[in-house]
């Protein structure tokens, strides 16, 4: 036991206070402190789908394939891939120079373990749902493997760069077990995890043996600060260097503070109204009138400083599912006319229910209220109810959602299947639209292997859905980000903020 005299202790404490008051000096310019709004659910990256944790995992683990800042699918651990014309298999070639943080080599056996053996052994992993069609992974050599599917799986390459798809070490996991791995995880990523306190702090140190471009910053500290006001205060006081998810007005205000830069970055997250095909919305006139009555540009201006792009399709500009020139007009006169054709007017409004989250994404509840006000002018009276985001799926499964729900859908890949396909597939819990006419087309489109036909199909489905009022896309979501002006980082179209791309 170390014994301390009171004097020594007091001297040490004073010195520590002095040092602690100068964190920026102590940290130097070889590190960065990020204020992040949420924690990882655990350090098994395959286990739970949490979009906000994806960037955190990407610093420690590597994905088989990656995305460029413009979201193009690019090689990563896999250096070449070939999808069979029928979409029934995917041949993969891995890099030969990748090592896990313990020095062991990453091979195709680790890939098979991650995506096949772990799932088959009964481990409860969310990635099992991403690769449902996977029949087996055949190992050809340590650097070659073939994924085989029981039905066409054209989007598997995309999924290999999406949620939860990170390669984990087979030998190490078998040696330390799941709990051992969660306590001391290793990956092949650009940073090693050196300290973690749940809901507190993540400390990462540069992986000096990283196979890819070596990160410029040696140390990345992630402070988990869930309260937006505290994140604002932390960046303003200088105790953190970068943060995301602050209120739009605060991002704009902080952007005017000397030494700080505020950004409103459009990302691959769409805000839309998910729609039922029954109750008051069984009438297409009511659905279309509801859509025509929404002034999306006004919503963007009021809640996102005009940075959120108004959408007419469930896809964002620049992604394959987006159709230039397709517009669903803001036309309150048309809305009034459609409602009148069904016997409704402001004096005799049609009554509907509307669900919204409150705090799930910036200004969600206020936006819902604004939409309700817009509808009232044309003759739609909506009763607003607040739901928890986590309950959306359960309510939808139980057929308990009201006519429409204000919803935010994240698709880091930008692939149209994950937009229109997931949002409109009646068999998935994302879509409250259960009409089989559109539903059968959507389900069939999942099996189209030819890339050109696949994309064209999803574009057509997106337009058809909007034209018939099966969904009402509103805005491309915006990520608010505030950073010190001398901190540079790579801006990803899907909102990833990665320590390995930062430098002073």
């Amino acid at each position: 036991m170390v014994k301390l005299s009171r004097r020594v202790f007091a001297q040490g404490a004073s010195l520590a206070s002095l040092l602690a008051s100068l964190p920026a000096v102590a940290a130097g310019k070889d590190s960065v402190t990020i204020g992040w709004p949420s924690d990882v659910t655990g350090w098994d990256p395959n286990q739970r789908f949490t979009p906000d944790a994806q960037a955190l995992y990407k610093m420690v683990f590597d994905q088989p394939l990656d995305q460029s800042p413009s979201l193009k699918l690019i090689p990563n651990l896999i250096k070449a891939w070939t999808l069979a014309p029928d979409g029934m298999s995917l041949a993969l070639e891995f890099r030969d120079d990748v090592r896990f943080h313990d020095g062991s080599k990453m091979t195709s056996a680790d890939f098979r373990w991650t995506f096949f053996e772990r799932v088959k052994s009964g481990q409860k992993l969310d990635i099992a749902n991403s690769f449902r069609k996977l029949k087996d992974i055949e190992i050809i050599s340590p650097t070659k493997a073939v994924m085989r599917f029981d039905s066409p799986a054209p989007t598997v390459p995309v999924w290999l760069a999406f949620l939860g798809s990170f390669v984990v070490p087979k030998d190490y996991m078998e040696k330390v077990g799941l709990e051992g791995f969660a306590a001391k995880p290793i990956g092949t990523g650009p940073y090693k995890l050196v300290e973690y306190q749940m809901n507190g702090r993540i400390v990462l140190e540069r992986n000096e043996d990283y196979w890819g471009p070596k990160p410029k910053l040696k140390r990345v500290v992630i402070e988990i600060i869930k309260d937006p006001s505290a994140r604002v205060a932390a960046i303003q006081s200088g105790s953190i260097d970068l943060t995301v998810g602050v209120p739009v007005r605060e991002a704009e205000r902080l952007g005017k503070v000397a030494g700080l830069k505020g950004e409103l970055n459009p990302i691959q997250r769409v805000i839309l109204l998910q729609v039922r095909n029954d109750q008051a919305f069984a009438d297409p006139n009511v659905r279309l009138a509801a859509h025509h009555a929404i002034d999306k540009a006004a919503l963007s201006k009021a809640f996102y400083g005009g940075a959120a792009v108004p959408l007419s399709l469930p896809a964002t500009p620049g992604t394959p599912g987006f159709v230039d020139g397709f517009k669903f007009a803001y036309d309150p006169a048309m809305a009034t006319k459609l409602l009148a054709a069904s016997g409704f007017s402001p004096a005799k409004p049609v009554k509907i229910g509307m669900a919204t989250t409150n705090g799930q994404f910036p200004n969600d509840y206020d936006m819902a209220r604004a939409i309700v006000a817009m509808w009232k002018k044309v003759g739609i009276e909506a009763e607003l109810e607040v739901i928890e985001y986590a309950k959306y799926f359960e309510l939808n499964r139980g057929n308990k959602l009201p006519e429409t729900t204000l919803y935010s859908f994240d698709n880091a890949t930008g692939d149209p299947e994950i937009y229109a396909g997931y949002l409109l597939n009646p068999k998935l819990p994302f879509s409250p639209w259960k009409d089989p006419v559109l539903g059968e087309k959507v389900i069939a489109q999942f099996n189209v292997a030819d890339e050109a036909k696949r994309i064209a199909g999803w574009r057509a489905i997106g337009q058809e859905a909007v034209t018939m009022g099966a969904c009402m896309p509103l805005l491309q979501s915006v990520q608010t980000l505030v950073r010190k002006t001398d901190l540079a980082y790579s801006k990803y179209g899907n909102g990833w903020v990665l320590g390995q791309t930062m430098n002073w």
Partner: protein, 333 residues
């Protein structure tokens, strides 16, 4: 009093049992499906039903309660739905931080409360009394989360005097011995970590403690007024004992007892109040865990945290009862 204390101790078990039953039933009545919540959105109905069966949610409620209670008594709080980790481990990881914060907040509340109570007593029937009363009312009417934000703005942003996120400065590695950071810093001989942890603790403890100080002030003031009516105070004055000595050595000793009892009761509220303060200060305690659990309808965590709150409150109440018994010989007669 001794008998009453013994009775109260004996009631702890049944109270916990009733609380656990109420908690279990209340959470099961919520319109939430833990099986569905435990699965990814793309899970099929068949997979959700399989999860429901595996979690025992298809059994009668009484059977579910009996299973849960049996497991809880053996220290098995189940597995978190959202995080898929054993809840017991999550509690062990976060409880020390919350206890540390609550104790620090109680010290703040105690110091402010006793100091303020003495000041209120000294100002009685004087010109400053109205101002002092107004100040305590103001302190009491501002909730702890607002204090938290005010302190962040004042001491964190405006003056840059104190840190307001987490438990340690960046660059410092948390020693893990008992989970109580201040204690661990001493155990590993790291005064720098101790100082940093203390500085990080100041604002959340003050925000949490300040709202609880006014009732202590008022009870102490009233108790002192009552005690000053006693004969022994008059006798002390006749013996020529100074006013300061009368107050601190004679009156306070007796007046503090109801104050202590109040502080014991308040600790429960204070412990509960840590929820929002922990979130605002990014303090990695049990409150932070609970807020996430509520957001994700993570029933096993909600049950375990709520039960832990109950156990801690009962333990503190019992400890305060014992302390009062120890300090007051008349109660032991």
């Amino acid at each position: 009093m001794v008998l009453s204390f013994a009775r109260r101790l004996a009631a702890v078990g049944p109270i916990l049992l009733v609380v656990s039953l109420l908690l279990f039933v209340a959470l099961r009545l919520l319109p939430v499906d833990p099986a569905a919540m435990s699965m990814p959105p793309t899970a099929t109905k068949v997979e959700i039903e399989a999860a429901r069966s595996a979690m025992g949610l298809d059994r009668p409620l009484v059977e579910q309660y009996a299973i849960w209670l049996g497991q809880t008594l053996h220290g098995d709080f189940g597995t978190s739905i959202h995080m898929r980790r054993p809840v017991g481990g999550l509690l062990l990881e976060t409880l020390p931080a919350t206890i540390e914060l609550s104790v620090a907040a109680m010290i703040v509340a105690g110091l402010l409360g006793i100091g303020g109570g003495l000041a209120l007593f000294a100002l009685r029937n004087r010109r400053g009394e109205a101002v002092a009363e107004l100040t305590t009312t103001l302190m009491m009417s501002i909730p702890e989360f607002l204090w938290a934000l005010l302190f962040i703005f004042l001491f964190g942003v405006l003056l840059s005097a104190l840190p307001f996120t987490g438990r340690l400065d960046p660059g410092m590695t948390r020693p893990v011995v008992s989970g109580f950071l201040l204690l661990d810093a001493l155990l590993v001989g790291r005064p720098d970590i101790y100082a940093s942890a203390l500085r990080h603790l100041l604002l959340p403890a003050a925000a949490l403690g300040i709202a609880f100080a006014p009732p202590v002030m008022r009870v102490l003031r009233t108790s002192l007024v009552d005690v000053y009516q006693e004969d022994y105070i008059r006798q002390a004055r006749l013996r020529g004992v100074g006013e300061a000595r009368i107050l601190l050595a004679h009156a306070l000793k007796n007046a503090i007892l109801p104050t202590l009892t109040l502080m014991g009761v308040q600790f429960g509220f204070l412990f509960g109040g840590s929820l929002l303060v922990e979130v605002i200060y990014a303090y990695p305690g049990m409150g932070n865990l609970m807020v996430d659990a509520v957001r994700n309808a993570d029933l096993p965590i909600i049950q375990a945290v709520a039960l832990t709150y109950c156990v801690v409150v009962l333990a503190i109440t019992s400890a305060v009862d014992a302390l009062v018994l120890l300090l007051n010989p008349r109660l032991r007669a």
